[in-house]
């Protein structure tokens, strides 16, 4: 018997001892990363996917389009400051905006659990409609499936979207340069802590509302002012830390951020303290990091501050020359440390 045929199939790296999918594989940390790197990327390999951005940029008939999708399994369905419907619209709108695209059209697929009150569904749909109008996009196609009672958490949503790039810039991790300034559009951790406040077993009384918001207008304002935006990244699961580490690793550049410059509201910080969380890893739904050349940082900041959702914009750090691909942080007391990606979701550190 001679050599077997050369299958195009690549042997994926084994999933590190876990024969089953764990919640942590969806937590936005190291395990999510591994799942994508070892299972999905080798299977679907192509240039658009390899850019590893929040969405893909593809060229069709001379037009550059951004294309992205995301699923929403949030519990509870309604939380302070938002609900699964508005989240599903904002999420995909933001992924498109992070490619530098003007979001245009969205699809929505709903997986409903038998027995969900019609009134609940009506509220979610109304919220999606409202969010779409606010973000300037249209929901143009969709699908509905119903699963047996007990097989879902009421409502799961998936949205996909397309947007158009109206400029020639390449906004992606690969465009990040040493000396780039890192800007942030506001305080961290509100979404994650708003959800935590109403989670069974860990709940607390708070006035924290999710920061869930569309970011397209802010991004468009930067691009229309011809700011030389190098990279954009919205900070979702895994928080600021995971977003920056992914970029640092992708371009093998170190970054340095200043803990004292990163705004976190007092109540969000307090919630983090009692659970033993680090706000750097807590989820956001209306925050983004912007990479721009230092020479344009002040002008970019001024534009961001005037844009919706950008009132609290600030500079938090910069890209360094060194090439270890590490995120470094100067702590509140002035010491340097490395910030690493978490394995899965943060767990309450009770003891």
């Amino acid at each position: 018997m001679n050599a077997p045929q050369d299958f195009a199939l690549q042997c994926p790296v084994p999933l590190r001892d876990y024969p089953q999918v764990l919640l942590a594989h969806g937590g936005g940390g190291r395990l999510s990363h591994q799942l994508i790197e070892s299972l999905f990327l080798p299977a679907f390999k192509n240039p658009a996917l390899d850019a590893r951005h929040d969405g893909a940029v593809v060229e069709i008939g001379g037009l550059r389009l951004a294309f992205s999708t995301d699923s929403y399994v949030v519990r509870p369905l309604f939380f302070p400051g938002g609900d699964i419907g508005s989240l599903a619209v904002h999420g995909t709108v933001n992924d498109l905006a992070m490619c530098g695209a003007r979001p245009l059209y969205l699809s929505v697929a709903a997986i409903l659990e038998e027995g969900v009150p019609m009134e609940t569904l009506r509220r979610v749909v109304a919220s999606m409609q409202h969010a779409a109008a606010r973000a300037g996009v249209q929901l143009v196609t969709g699908d509905t499936k119903v699963v047996d009672r007990g097989k879902g958490d009421g409502i799961y949503l998936n949205t996909a979207g397309i947007g158009i790039l109206e400029h020639g810039r390449r906004i992606a991790p690969a465009s990040v340069q040493p000396g780039d300034t890192i800007l942030l559009n506001g305080d961290l951790g509100r979404h994650g802590m708003a959800i935590m406040a109403v989670r069974e077993g860990l709940s607390f009384e708070s006035a924290i509302e999710s920061d869930s918001a569309p970011l397209a207008a802010l991004v468009m304002a930067l691009l229309e002012a011809d700011i030389d935006v190098h990279c954009l990244r919205d900070l979702t699961r895994g928080g600021l830390a995971s977003a920056l580490i992914e970029i640092a690793e992708a371009v093998r550049r170190d970054m340095l951020i200043e803990e004292a410059a990163i705004p976190v509201r007092e109540d969000v910080r307090a919630a983090c303290e009692i659970l033993g969380f680090d706000p750097l890893y807590v989820a956001n739904e209306g925050r983004l990091a912007v990479f721009v050349p230092e020479a344009q940082a002040e002008r970019a900041l001024a534009i961001m501050r005037r844009a919706p959702g950008g009132e609290g914009s600030c500079r938090i750090g910069q890209v360094l020359d060194s090439r270890d691909g590490l995120l470094k942080l100067r702590s509140r007391i002035g010491a340097l440390r490395i910030v690493d990606m978490l394995s899965g979701e943060q767990l309450p550190r009770i003891c």
Binding site: E205, A207, E266, D267, A270, A335, I350, C351
Partner: protein, 89 residues
């Protein structure tokens, strides 16, 4: 071990199991906390809370001591006028 955080008691009440519970404010968020172990603590006091239990009352007088100490050290080093180089680099 033993993550415990200071918070301020804003109200005290007995629950249906006869436990002495208090609402404790931690910088803008609040939790129901057992006050069974701190009978001396009341509304307005700060307590250290661990896994839903207040374990001790914070003494504001003692809390100031470290800053007093620093102040004295500062005055001392001014006297010597030879402030050593910073340890951080």
């Amino acid at each position: 071990m033993c993550l415990a955080v200071p918070g301020k008691i804003v109200s005290v009440a007995e629950n249906d199991t006869g436990a002495r519970m208090g609402k404790v404010d931690f910088g803008g968020i609040a939790k129901e906390v057992s006050l069974d172990f701190v009978p001396e603590a009341g509304v307005g006091d700060y307590v250290i809370v661990h896994v839903g239990f207040a374990l001790s009352k914070v003494d504001p007088e003692e809390a100031r001591q470290v800053f007093e100490y620093l102040k004295q050290m500062g005055e001392l080093s001014e006297l010597h006028e030879s402030s050593p180089p910073p340890a951080s680099s």
